[in-house]
Symmetry: D2
Subunit: 379 residues, 4 copies
């Protein structure tokens, strides 16, 4: 008889993502039959008071102010990285060296070079590694993947079209926070939200061959803090448009922007294949739209599938049909699968290799935006 | 070889419905292969100047100021009645006596007694008769009928639910026009718009057994004309709610109102059967929504059928797929089928018998509203 | 300085509602700044193994098999009743006698007489009491209430129209579970889901004067258990239609059914007032639709408000704009407000008085369905 | 007193566009108070039998088999060109020389060089010229233009995003008609439908600075005629993606495809400005969606404006609020404005200059697709 393991988790970061990851670790055991117990051992942040408050509110046993402590702690099994993008690499390398399973927020790092190092490190240490592209585990997206894999859209895909639109910085008086500084964020809409639709493109359609992109900064200077007359330069993109060609012949049209008034967290995706199409909108994330040309001729139309049936991915663990789930549930699904992978020792998508491949696409897009040329995706 | 006939039409009425009927007579020959030619011979109205202007604008050869002239004209083959409701009966009786084919606006008359007389008259004269319930010939509604008839919703219907909502008199300053006087209109929302959803209930589901209703007048006095301080009592209903039981066991829930802000011409219908459901909204009249429980379990959902394919009713005569039609087209379809019936001598639904049966339902509902009791529909 | 209290909770029931309530007690402290700590002390159910499993999965310290133990436990501060409807009354009376704060699932009881006893008991004991009409605390519904209270719809309401539609028993092979037996459930769609839209009618519009209703059972016999040839009579309604008049002159049109294929948990509400309208659909619960006639004339239209902004009720405690919440969150909001009321000693809506008033409407509707007459709502 | 003129029209072409233009000439006088009468004198086509049938069906007095006859006819005032794209230029040059007012289907010609000649010719002859970009006169699009002009979206536009998607040739068995041959069509989706969203971009946002595009042909060989084993090469694009920068700093993202299953005639547009956004979908062409950030904070959301009010462009000539219009009405509006321009002698947008500017954008996109480079739009 095998002893049931308890996985001790250390979470680095206590901001928006820290809150979402904490909830996932806390909820997963109550809704999924995990093959191990979860111990929320420590949360780590540089601001002691804020970290202590987060520990209390989110349910962590201890606090730490230096991530190195967490990584060095022999009791810790899992390091969960939910910090600003420029710190991912260093923490992950150390965690890999310390043989911890690693869950890392997206984008995996600031560029492909960093990602390659991280992938090499986790491979060398043979630890389980996962990038937190939580949208892969929206039930409707998982269902889309299932449909494409079983041929519901036919044997060819022609179009992948996605837009991720928000509006939180349309107002020029909105301050220049860390997400608007290339030093800490790497890029703007590109790494933050275009990365999601690039990841889903690869997940649902396949690998990119080459890309062309433009990146725009509509408001170039912003107050240092809200209300301040002192301004700081914005050093990331407000919006990015990208065209791409997949290796399988499909073409991609992507756009990510923080300048679309009225679009709050609107990630819309449409995929057209030889026998049908699917469409999705994150603001209505419990629905998937499917068009199937093989239906009777006078009955064809996009159907709106409410993805809340027991037969749909992840759903039977939650509520009865028609009772919708929300944003945070995608992290719970991610953590549940991650725990399963740690115990089984099997790989779980999206791996750091996915993170690297995504980054290569993002890097090619950036190079294209700088040179005005089509850029072949490396690797 | 048969000689191709020319049907000379006399239209009584030049208001909103006169405009819609004129357009139908003018357009039908250009889009449908009618078995006869149409001659728009005369339009009739009491106001000479306005009628002359209507004749010019809508394309009628002549004007008349007394409908008796039109009915008496031996050249006239068709009398099209588009006048206020209280005049339908007298005109139709005379037209039947004169052996004219008759197209009559809905509601057929003010009450069932009048309708019975009219039906008796057209039967006696053996003329073709039709009530202009134009919504039966919305392509999406005709498609709904086809689906129900071929069993797409299963072998039982459980629910018919419809609401016809407008907002043109929510403002208490809106004047007390003829449609708000029982003498000229018979009733308010009840005869004007509830009659539509009662007709579609009978068309799509079946005959009513008994009904219960309430009728409400929210604003009881209104200006005689716009801006006038002088007020007149409103003597019709602003809104009606009605429950009903069909003979086949289904139940009905109907509502018609002129007091629903933001609903301009919103007739929504949902029918639930043992194997599926359909839903429709007049403000999006080129669409029909269908749910089919016999689909694969993880793919079920309401599909939005854009009813613009050649395989859909009436559509191939218009434009290519995706190119929508509008309100007026329903009258063109009605006229096209009416002309076909005149030439073939066959009956064409909805007949005056339908008009009578609709009126019996409306009368029962009114009696229910007055007595507070369930009323059995006669006939 | 006041000592911070810890409230020990005993939950009676471990089914669907038990799961939802457990989650609420567990999550509320992590997302809301509660004025007391919560101790999930005991969960109670008659099936020991199942209850033990529920305790483990949902995070309760102890299990009990007799609710009397829980009520008698002096450490328990709160009794949360999530059992079948026919047991609510007895448990609540005992809990009131033991001076526990009481949260009770809806419908409060089987009839108004039971509700009156329960209300008298909680008043006598002066304990905090609340009915778990969780839909009042959907952010969009709370926002609707705010809008109506501040006059966004004008000074008169004309129409309240609601439908609660599901489809889980359309299939005649679906077995005759406790919810389909009047002994345990009291009624079918009526008490289960019509009760929700009756409660929201009273919350958003006002008190009913009189009602008229029909109740239908479309499938009268069903297998005792799934697949069994042995059948049992269905003794509750499959669907109910109800018309009503409010004391303030508005009229109501309600419908609840379990026979609407494709509608999974579809509670749709529309309210029309003298200056605007609102519309809501539970399957898209993060949205509220508002029509405001006071807008510029060429810009009027129903706006789709994504109720995920910090300024919206309950939202700032969750996620950033555009990140939606789900079904379960409504229970978290309910528990959070209930804890606040316990500590402050103030009343919190909906109280047992609301439960009683709701029941009087439901009872009047049932009497109407039996007699075919309009019934005045008592009280 | 001025004598009322009668304009004699000669229509070249009797296909899909011939049908739509015929209807427009026939209907415009009945719905709009035109400043001249319209005489539908002659329709011209090479197939005599088909042209004669079209004349009869669409209401033309005479037929011609050579467009030169029509242009030479001194009675003809207006030449309406509705032929395949490669013939536009020659006909228009002759019509200009003959001093006829010219309405020309889009795209104006096969390339900018042709367009320049045509523009020079109409300028020299001082005839009224108009390109039939009928979508500018969809009421909702005209309303969008009004809103942008009066500042409803703010003083800056950030994004123009449009997709025109159809699915009529997804099936590889669909034959290689003239629209799939570069000789007759010039290009595929690019000139046929991308031209529409390029025109609307310029109409609603402004002039393009430079563009980058890809053009794809997914199915390279098709049957010569339906069912034939003999195949012909497809020499036009099936789909085009295009990014662009406007001179005013906005960025554009366009896509046109005939390979999007389920999208029948789906032209979707979204424009994001500094104070709001608008969105439109041709398949629901009676609606315009508007987001206005200047609304009260808890009431913001995209509103769905049903563009059927008298205050909306073109609407008061048709039907009451809520009664929708269809595809063909856009041509009626175009013809009505064109007649007005002929009589007044004033210019009417979109002129041949617009046709030329559109073509320069399309040419630049094509050059970009061939070279892989960003191309500056000339002129």
């Amino acid at each position: 008889m095998t002893t049931r393991r308890t996985l001790a988790v250390g979470l680095i970061g206590y901001g928006f993502m820290g809150k979402a990851h904490s909830n996932a670790w806390r909820q997963a055991p109550h809704f999924f039959a995990l093959p191990a117990d979860v111990r929320m051992k420590v949360i780590c942040g540089r601001n002691s008071a804020a970290t202590a408050e987060a520990a209390r509110q989110y349910g962590w046993e201890n606090v730490a102010s230096d991530w190195r402590e967490v990584v060095a702690d022999p009791e810790i099994d899992v390091v969960d990285i939910a910090t600003p993008n420029h710190t991912h690499s260093e923490i992950a390398l150390a965690a890999a060296a310390a043989r911890k399973a690693i869950l890392c927020e997206k984008p995996l790092a600031l560029d492909a070079a960093e990602c390659e190092q991280m992938l090499a490190a986790v491979r060398k240490s043979r630890v389980v590694h996962m990038v937190c592209h939580n949208y892969r585990r929206i039930p409707a997206i998982s269902l889309a993947k299932r449909m494409i894999d079983r041929g519901d859209l036919g044997n060819r895909i022609y179009h992948y079209r996605a837009r991720y639109a928000q509006d939180w910085i349309v107002d020029p008086a909105s301050p220049s926070v860390w997400r608007l500084q290339s030093k800490s964020a790497g890029s703007g809409a590109h790494g933050d939200i275009n990365s999601h639709i690039v990841d889903l493109a690869r997940y649902l359609v396949g690998e990119f061959n080459d890309v062309s992109a433009i990146m725009n900064t509509f408001v170039s200077k912003r107050p240092v803090i809200s209300g301040s007359p002192k301004k700081r330069k914005v050093t990331v993109d407000d919006a990015v448009c990208m065209m791409g060609k997949f290796r399988n012949g499909a073409i991609a049209n992507l756009e990510a922007t923080r300048f679309a008034h009225g679009r709050k967290n609107s990630m819309t995706i449409e995929i057209n294949g030889s026998a049908g199409s699917i469409a999705f909108n994150l603001e209505e994330m419990n629905k998937l739209h499917l068009y199937d040309v093989r239906q009777q001729e006078d009955q064809r139309g996009f159907r709106e599938i409410l993805v809340t049936e027991p037969v749909h991915p992840f759903v039977k663990n939650w509520w009865p049909p028609g009772h919708i789930v929300g944003y945070e549930h995608t992290f719970v699904h991610t953590v549940a699968d991650f725990v399963g992978a740690i115990v089984s020792g099997k790989s779980v998508q999206p791996t750091f290799e996915d993170g690297l491949k995504n980054q290569r696409v993002l890097d090619a897009a950036r190079e294209s935006a700088e040179t005005g040329k089509w850029i072949k995706v490396s690797g």
